[in-house]
């Protein structure tokens, strides 16, 4: 697989009150952004644990994006 074809699979942990709403706003305003992020909505960024992140990598995600 060449690098240009590589589509990273990224897991996003988004805070319901901040980043999730920002992503929503970006969508409503029709901004274009890469579709590689699969989002998990958490009620607060503080809810995220070391275990979540490690598990995400163990399941093979190429990156983890935490948005507060």
């Amino acid at each position: 697989m060449s690098k240009t074809q590589f589509k990273p699979r990224i897991l996003g942990f988004f805070c319901h009150w901040c980043c999730y709403a920002a992503a929503d706003a970006a969508g409503v305003a029709r901004y274009q952004y890469p579709p590689n992020v699969r989002v998990v909505r958490v009620l607060c960024t503080g809810r995220i644990d070391v275990r979540f992140v490690l598990e995400a990598f163990r399941c093979g995600s190429d990156g983890v994006f935490t948005g507060g």
């Binding site: 690098k3 990273p8 920002a22 706003a25 952004y33 992140v53 093979g60 994006f65 948005g67 507060g68």
Partner: protein
């Protein structure tokens, strides 16, 4: 949390830059787009997990990460994590350097020790292994591993058969 993750990921051989922690308020749609676009570009440049510069192959990473996930739930590690967090709140030092030092001296050693214990046990479960095999899989030094193995031997969990280490009673 992020600092602990970064140190553990680095220890497992994953580029810590794969983990990002960013802030965008509810009103910052354009900023969010910028952050995500930038981040995806960085990851694309790094390549798939296990194929980035300096990263071991996916097989090795999978065993290491599996053990790390389990280690993250071990009470000893949770206690180390909690005690450090409490101490940080009491002292009120929240600078990046203070957190980095604290994690690397208080949380990370316990975490690494538990990961290696779990990983060695998982590896031996698959069949007899020589120390040199374990070095490749776990990424730990030979001395460290022989310490773990002799601890296992003392507890009667494993023994050296000459051709490799095996778990007893399984």
């Amino acid at each position: 949390m992020a600092e602990t993750c970064r140190q553990v990921l680095k220890d497992c051989g994953v580029n810590p830059e794969r983990l990002a922690l960013e802030w965008a308020s509810a009103a910052e749609g354009p900023r969010f787009v910028e952050l995500i676009t930038d981040y995806v570009r960085r990851i694309t440049a790094l390549g798939p997990l296990g194929e980035g510069a300096g990263e071991p192959g996916w097989d090795v990473l999978a065993t290491r990460l599996e053990a790390a996930v389990k280690a993250a739930g071990v009470p000893k590690v949770r206690t180390a994590y909690g005690t450090f967090a409490k101490k940080m709140h009491q002292e009120g030092h929240y600078t990046g350097d203070a957190i980095e030092d604290g994690v690397s001296s208080k949380v990370f050693p316990t975490f690494r020790q538990e990961r290696l214990l779990l990983e060695v046990r998982d590896c031996l479960r698959e069949g007899p292994k020589a120390i040199s095999d374990l070095v490749v899989v776990t990424g730990a030094g030979e001395e460290e591993l022989s310490g773990i193995l002799s601890a296992f031997e003392k507890k009667g969990l494993a023994s050296d058969t000459g051709s490799g280490w095996v778990l007893k009673g399984e």
